[in-house]
C-alpha cells in the first residue's frame, strides 16, 4: 500500500483555480519528481479552504503549514526547503500563522480565521480529495446511509431530522424534517428527491464550494432523504456556470455507482436509489422550487402557484422534495452524531451552523461556517479581519437581492433566521457582502433592482411591471432627477409588490429598497434634495476637480479620453465640467492625488 510521510493539499476551489492553483499544482508535481520524492510526498487537490482572499492556498501536512498567495515558482522553494529539509518556509506562510514575538508557527487550525468557525457542512472541504471516494469513506462517509438503511425506518429518519431542528439553508428556513414528512405521507408509486444547486444569488458561492469540495456528502444525503420519503430517483439541478462542481459531481456519482452506493439494492437492503444531474441555463428564478421543476421538465422556468406544494404534486406531478445543497450536507452528520448533538449548536430556534460567503469590503474574503447565534461583529471583525484601508464600516448586506442591509448599531445581534428578519433582512442562502463609506446605498438598491428586473420571469404583473417601475424611480434618483415624494412612492410600490407577487423572487425583490430606505433615508434625501451622492458613486451627481496640489505634469490631460482637461506644463490644470464624462481616468493617472470628486 502506498505510504506517504507528507501530504501537500492544494486548493482546487474556483477562487484558487482562478488565481492560478492549476499551475502551482503542475509545478509541485515537477519539483517533487525532480527531487525524487514521489514515493514520500503526495499531492492532493482539495475543495475550497475558505480563505479565498489569500489564494492560491497550499497546506502541508502533518505540520498543517498554511501557505498563502502561492506562486508557481514557490513550489520549488517549498519542495526544497520544507518537503526535503523540513524547514517551514516562513516567508510564504499566511501572515497570521507566524507569531512574531515567539517565532512560533501556528498550524492552519490555529489561525483566527478558522478558530471561531465550526465546520459541519464544510467539514471535508480542504481536507479530502473530492475525486476520491475512499477519502470520503475514511471520514465516515456513507456510514450514515448504512445506518439509516439497516437500523432505521423511514419514520425514524424523519423524526430524527425533525428533532435536530434543521431548517432549510436555501433561504426560507422551513424545517427540513417537516417538509420530508409531507412527501412521505403522500401516496404515490413514484416520488422524486431533488437537490437545488442553482445558486444564483450574486456574491454567494457556498453550495458550489460544498459540491466542489465534498460531492459525496450530497449524494449520501440525497439517498438518505430518498429512503425517508420513498423516492427511488433523484436529480441534482445545478448551474451550468459551475463547471468544476459539475465535473466533480459527475465523478462522484460514477464512483458511488461503481461501489454500489447508488443503484439497486444498496447495502443488500432492497433499497434502490439513482441520481441524475440536470443543468440549469442561467435563470435566477430557477432557484425558486416550482420554477426549478418547470426547468427540469423542459419548460421555461416560470414558477407555479402554490398550493399544490411540490411535496404533493411536484416533478411530473409526483410528490417531490427539493432541498438545498447546504441543508443536505448537514444530514449525514446529524444521522451519525445524533439529533441532540446538532440541536445543542446554535440558538433556540435556529440550530446548527450556517455557511456564509463573505465578500465585498472585507480583509478576509472567503467562505466561513459559524454556529448560529454568532454575532455579526465576530464575523466581520474577528473572522473577516475588518475593513481594508482603514475605511469605516457602513453596512452588511445579507440575503442578496431578496435581503436587506444591517447597520453598525446592530452588529452585536446574534445571527439567526428570526433575528435577521426582525432587522429587515433575511438569512438567505448565505451571501454576506460588507460595504464601507465609499458605497452608495441608493446605488446598491438600484443594483439589486437591476438584477431582479433582468431576472424576473415575466409571469406575474407585480414583479414584471412593478420592479421595472421601481428601477426607473431609482435611476431617476441616482441620476439627479429625483423629486420630493419619490421616496414615499417607492415605499408604497414596494409594499404592493411584496403583497401581490406570485413567487418568492417577486415577493422579496423590494426588500433591498425597503431596507435601505429604512436605514439610509438621509442618503436618498441627499440625492433628491441636494443632488449630491454622499459616497461619491453616482456619476451624474459628481464633479471632478483639480486641487492646488497639481504639479502640472500633464498626465491627466494625456489620459483624458474626451480632452476636457487644459493647462500648461508645470501649471495648475483645469477640468471642463461640461465636457467631462466622469470616467475617472485622470484620477488614476495623477501621481500626486490632486484630483478629487465631490
Amino acid at each position: 500500500m502506498e505510504l506517504y510521510r507528507s501530504h501537500v493539499l492544494i486548493c482546487g476551489g474556483t477562487g484558487c483555480t482562478s488565481s492560478g492553483s492549476d499551475l502551482v499544482e503542475e509545478r509541485f508535481n515537477e519539483e517533487i519528481k525532480k527531487n525524487g520524492l514521489e514515493k514520500e510526498v503526495k499531492i492532493i487537490r482539495t475543495g475550497c479552504f475558505g480563505l479565498c482572499e489569500v489564494g492560491p492556498v497550499v497546506v502541508v501536512y502533518p505540520e498543517g503549514s498554511f501557505y498563502a498567495h502561492v506562486k508557481p515558482e514557490d513550489a520549488k522553494t517549498i519542495t526544497e526547503e520544507h518537503l526535503l529539509k523540513g524547514r517551514i518556509v516562513r516567508d510564504l506562510l499566511y501572515y497570521e500563522s507566524l507569531e512574531e514575538a515567539s517565532d512560533q508557527v501556528k498550524s492552519i487550525n490555529e489561525v483566527d480565521f478558522y478558530q471561531k468557525q465550526m465546520r459541519v457542512a464544510l467539514r471535508n472541504c480542504g481536507v479530502i480529495d473530492p475525486e476520491n471516494i475512499e477519502e470520503y469513506i475514511a471520514m465516515d462517509g456513507y456510514a450514515a446511509l448504512g445506518k439509516v438503511l439497516t437500523e432505521m425506518s423511514p419514520e425514524d429518519v424523519i423524526n430524527h431530522i425533525k428533532q435536530s431542528g434543521l431548517r432549510g439553508r436555501g433561504g426560507g428556513g422551513f424545517p427540513t424534517g417537516v417538509k420530508w414528512s409531507f412527501a412521505a405521507g403522500a401516496k404515490n408509486d413514484q416520488k422524486y428527491m431533488i437537490c437545488n444547486a442553482d445558486e444564483g444569488d450574486p456574491g454567494a458561492f457556498m453550495d458550489r464550494s460544498v459540491l466542489e469540495g465534498d460531492p459525496h456528502a450530497i449524494i449520501e444525503a440525497m439517498a438518505i432523504a430518498g429512503y425517508a420519503i420513498g423516492a427511488s430517483q433523484g436529480f441534482v439541478y445545478i448551474r451550468a456556470e459551475y463547471p468544476i462542481a459539475v465535473q466533480r459531481l459527475e465523478i462522484a456519482i460514477a464512483q458511488a455507482k461503481e461501489n454500489g452506493l447508488l443503484g439497486k439494492d444498496i447495502f443488500g437492503t432492497g433499497f434502490d436509489f439513482d441520481l441524475e444531474i440536470r443543468l440549469g441555463a442561467g435563470a435566477f428564478v430557477c432557484g425558486e422550487e416550482t420554477a426549478l421543476l418547470q426547468s427540469i421538465e423542459g419548460y421555461r422556468g416560470m414558477p407555479r402557484p402554490k398550493p399544490p406544494f411540490p411535496a404533493n404534486k411536484g416533478l411530473w406531478q409526483k410528490p417531490t422534495i427539493i432541498n438545498n445543497v447546504e441543508t443536505l450536507a448537514n444530514i449525514p452528520q446529524i444521522i451519525l452524531k445524533g439529533a441532540e448533538w446538532f440541536s445543542s449548536i446554535g440558538t433556540e430556534k435556529s440550530k446548527g451552523t450556517k455557511v456564509f460567503a463573505l465578500g465585498g469590503k472585507i480583509n478576509n474574503t472567503g467562505l466561513i461556517e459559524i454556529p448560529m447565534g454568532t454575532t455579526l461583529r465576530e464575523v466581520i471583525y474577528d473572522i473577516g479581519g475588518g475593513i481594508p484601508n482603514g475605511k469605516k464600516f457602513k453596512a452588511v448586506q445579507t440575503g442578496g437581492p431578496s435581503g436587506g442591509c444591517i447597520t453598525y448599531e446592530h452588529l452585536d445581534q446574534p445571527i439567526d433566521y428570526d433575528n435577521l428578519i426582525a432587522l429587515g433582512s433575511m438569512m438567505g442562502s448565505g451571501g454576506m457582502i460588507v460595504m464601507d463609506e465609499d458605497n452608495c446605498m441608493v446605488d446598491i438598491a438600484r443594483f439589486f433592482l437591476d438584477f431582479t428586473v433582468d431576472e424576473s420571469c415575466g409571469k406575474c404583473t407585480p414583479c414584471r411591471e412593478g420592479t421595472k417601475r421601481m428601477l426607473e424611480m431609482l435611476e431617476k434618483i441616482t441620476s439627479g432627477r429625483g423629486e420630493e415624494g419619490d421616496i414615499e412612492k417607492l415605499e408604497k410600490l414596494a409594499y404592493t409588490i411584496k403583497d401581490s407577487a406570485l413567487c418568492g423572487l417577486g415577493q422579496t425583490a423590494p426588500n433591498p429598497v425597503i431596507s435601505t430606505i429604512r436605514y439610509f433615508r438621509d442618503e436618498y434625501e441627499a440625492h433628491i434634495n441636494d443632488k449630491k451622492c454622499p459616497a461619491g458613486v453616482c456619476k451624474n451627481l459628481l464633479t471632478y476637480y483639480i486641487t492646488d496640489a497639481c504639479i502640472g505634469c500633464t498626465k491627466c490631460a494625456r489620459n483624458c479620453p474626451v480632452d476636457c482637461i487644459s493647462g500648461e506644463v508645470k501649471k495648475l490644470h483645469v477640468i471642463d465640467a461640461e465636457k467631462c464624462i466622469k470616467c475617472g481616468a485622470c484620477m488614476e493617472a495623477c501621481p500626486v492625488n490632486a484630483i478629487i470628486k465631490k
Binding site: Y4, R5, S6, L9, K85, G86, Y142, A143, D265, F267
Partner: protein
C-alpha cells in the same frame, strides 16, 4: 456495496492514508537538514512512517524538521511525548528506528543506549 462490513473495511484502509491530516499525540521529529539527509535521515524517516502505519499507531505523528544542531550525531530523531517530555535519539538507522517504535512508542521504554546522553 452489499454489506456494512465492506464499507467498514474500506474505511479502515483509507483512514490510514489520510490520518496524516490533523492528528494529535506523540510527535516523532526527524532532523532533515542537509547534514541529516547526508547522514541518512531519509531512510530513517521512511522506516518510522512505515512502522507507525504498520502498527496502526493512530495518535503518533512523524514530522520532519530542519537542523537540530548537533550535526555530528545525525541522523537525529526526537520524540515529544504528550506530557511535554522529550527524548533525543542520535546516529539513527532504519533498524534502530524500528526498535525505538517497538520499545519506546509502543511499550513506553526508552531505548537508552541510542539516546544523546549515552552517545554525546
Amino acid at each position: 456495496m452489499k454489506t456494512l462490513a465492506e464499507l467498514a473495511k474500506i474505511r479502515d484502509e483509507a483512514k490510514g492514508k489520510i490520518d496524516l491530516r490533523g492528528k494529535k499525540g506523540t510527535r516523532i521529529v526527524v532532523g532533515m537538514a542537509t547534514c541529516g539527509i547526508a547522514a541518512g535521515a531519509r531512510p530513517v524517516l521512511l522506516s518510522l512512517v512505515e512502522e507507525v502505519k504498520k502498527r496502526n499507531l493512530n495518535d503518533v505523528e512523524v514530522v520532519q524538521t530542519g537542523c537540530i544542531g548537533v550535526c555530528r550525531l545525525e541522523p537525529i530523531v526526537e520524540i515529544y511525548e504528550e506530557n511535554g517530555e522529550k527524548v533525543t535519539y542520535v546516529e539513527m538507522t532504519p533498524e534502530k528506528a524500528r526498535k525505538v517504535i517497538a520499545d519506546h512508542i509502543v511499550n513506553g521504554k526508552v531505548v537508552s543506549e541510542y539516546t544523546i546522553g549515552a552517545n554525546a
